[in-house]
Symmetry: C2
Subunit: 391 residues, 2 copies
């Protein structure tokens, strides 16, 4: 098996934001990069370009290859017949959040989010002058569930879009068929466009299965735009290659009436070739990485149960993100600030994930076991010290 | 001096479109890539990322660094005080053509082009439903001149944008101060937004000087959006990193009222770091490449004068592009098709450059001298054979 783990010195030598944003005494478990090397076939594809100084305009067929490899992968892994003709390469998913809001709704119209949620969804709604239709996930004591009754209540006549994030960032939920079907049927009933961020589809643990919402039948598919990328699963976010898949030609035409294709930019050759290589040849790497992530997740689960039972936490079904609801810890101020100052750990700040994220932090556990252990130990010790000082 | 030349076998081993679009017996002198290696500092910057598998989210300050390096370079080379705060990184210039048309004009309103012109300008106007206001360059018997009187006549009350391409693609003109000033003053008088594609600014021959139109004073600057990139000068088009510079905060605000920043996508880390390295450390390479291009240009000039005097051709003042007006050759059909079939040479097809490009081809002479000689010889021989068969 190829090795993918990096030492802390190797990580600190990287230029990326994850390991450079905070001073050296802080352990960074915030932004959603993995502390792992990219797959060898990705590295080989990049080196083929680098060795030949092959940085000119890329091969004419690269976009078609990307679309074909994507469609093959969707068929093979999820039995979903995505149409390569309905693929639009873009640089990243955030771009598509803005673009779909503008293409499918007018200022003031509503877009549904299941909060807490990946912050760019919130930014996109705010910056485009659309209206947040908040449908918070429901903590049912065993997991964060899609609240379909709540959804039925909040969707009003001015709601146009339903954003879905599945697997869900930050809670790690991998929604079940019944939940997705209820959501899809409501979208049909209320004539909503579904924009599904499925970027974490590769990162799902045993016992759960990713279901592309567009695979649930033609009526749902026809109103669904699926957003995905190899960047999460294969750890190449900086290479900026993603795609939109439109569930029907009509939906794509509607989009292009607002956005001519070239307006959204061109994807760079290295990102394209890396993505194609990852999807074609990266599976052995992905499976090895998933075993590591699975073990890390279980380590987090066991540690929190034993040492920090006041934190509300449901083991993620997918993603390498753990959502820690720290409100019962009754820490002074925001838990993000507390752990940054008192534990030397930089979590993701829950407050950025919407109103319902206050009092929570997001832990990225895609790192080496020894680093994860330090993060957990420092976190628990900071809580203990805070308790002692309160007594 | 570092070597940058590549052999024909090395070129054929590349994956890029220039050397893969046509069969192997065709010599490709079409798309604007150079047949040269990228500068060593660019290669080093890319390898720093590749060796560490550093493909995650890039350093937070990379966009600021890009803007700062750009502004420093503009000051140093052109005495132009560009403002790093008014820079917006984008993936490529074509994206900005579409975006500026949409941001600064309404459907049906006019945008001026100096034709013949780089085809994406024409596509952008057509696909956004704007109106081409054609102000052809005037062949004055010594060069292609900006037709200011013509411009005055064609600009009507519904004209909103004035596109400038300087150095000009495909004619290689590097416009003089007087021409640019007349253009800028007319833009002020008629309240036009100037969108200046200055991507070829690095590629100017002795005796000529690139003048950024935004450097001509505050009144012109305030209505000018400058588009540029290191991709042409340093031969890294596939890495997709470019920028827009707005000549005033008001102009930038107007743009962002239509396009939230993230809508246009994120620039990939490799493209960003390569661009910063090129602008900071690529100058020795650029100067060596310019000497090669200069010699190639003079070779083209001498050859055409001796062997193909019926081709109307003015030695380009900048760019590595030669615009060959073949109409006096009276070839059967399009010269592009003729030379492709009869000479085994793939020029750029002049017809794509607008109505005034019919009967012309664009020659990219950024290649090794022996390849250039073959291109020229094959071209002349095909013309001779056609003449003989007509006799």
């Amino acid at each position: 098996m190829e090795t993918f783990e990096l030492t802390i010195d190797e990580l600190r030598a990287r230029q990326g934001t994850k390991w450079t944003r905070y001073p050296a005494h802080i352990l960074p478990v915030w932004v959603a990069d993995m502390d792992f090397r990219a797959p060898e076939p990705v590295q080989a594809a990049i080196l083929r370009l680098v060795e030949r100084s092959d940085y000119g305009y890329g091969p004419l067929g690269a976009r078609d290859s990307l679309a074909a490899v994507f469609a093959d992968r969707m068929q093979e892994r999820y039995g979903w017949a995505a149409d390569p003709q309905l693929v639009l390469p873009i640089s990243e998913l955030i771009q598509a959040m803005y673009a779909t809001l503008i293409a499918y709704s007018a200022p003031g119209e509503g877009a549904v989010l299941q909060t807490p949620i990946y912050p760019p969804f919130l930014m996109a709604i705010e910056q485009t002058g659309r209206r947040l239709v908040d449908n918070p996930l429901r903590d049912d004591g065993t997991r964060y569930a899609l609240d379909i009754d709540g959804l039925r209540r909040v969707v009003d006549a001015g709601t146009r879009l339903l954003f879905l994030c599945n697997p869900h960032n930050p809670t790690g939920r991998v929604f079940e068929r019944a939940e997705l079907l209820a959501l899809g049927e409501l979208a049909v009933e209320r004539d909503l466009v579904i924009v599904a961020d499925e970027i974490h589809q590769d990162l799902v643990y045993p016992g759960h299965r990713h279901i592309p919402i567009a695979s649930l039948g033609p009526e749902i598919a026809a109103r669904t735009i699926t957003l995905t990328s190899a960047t999460k699963g294969f750890n190449i976010a900086g290479l900026r290659c993603a795609l939109m898949h439109f569930g029907s030609p009509a939906l794509k035409e509607r989009f292009h009436r607002v956005f001519p294709e070239r307006l959204l930019g061109a994807v760079n050759t290295i990102g394209l070739e890396a993505t194609i290589a990852a999807w074609r040849h990266g599976q052995p790497w992905l499976e090895a990485v998933l075993r590591r992530l699975h073990a890390n997740r279980d380590r987090v689960t066991a540690f929190l149960a034993a040492e920090l039972p006041e934190i509300t936490y449901y083991p993620p079904e997918g993603t390498y993100l753990a959502w820690l609801d720290c409100r019962r810890l009754a820490l002074p101020g925001s838990p993000y600030e507390f752990f940054l100052d008192q534990a030397g750990v930089a979590f993701g700040d829950g407050a950025a994930f919407g109103e319902h994220g206050r009092g929570c932090v997001r832990l990225n556990f895609a790192t080496a076991p020894d680093i994860l252990d330090q993060v957990l130990t420092r976190t628990a010790e900071a809580v203990k010290r805070a308790r002692l000082s309160r007594v």
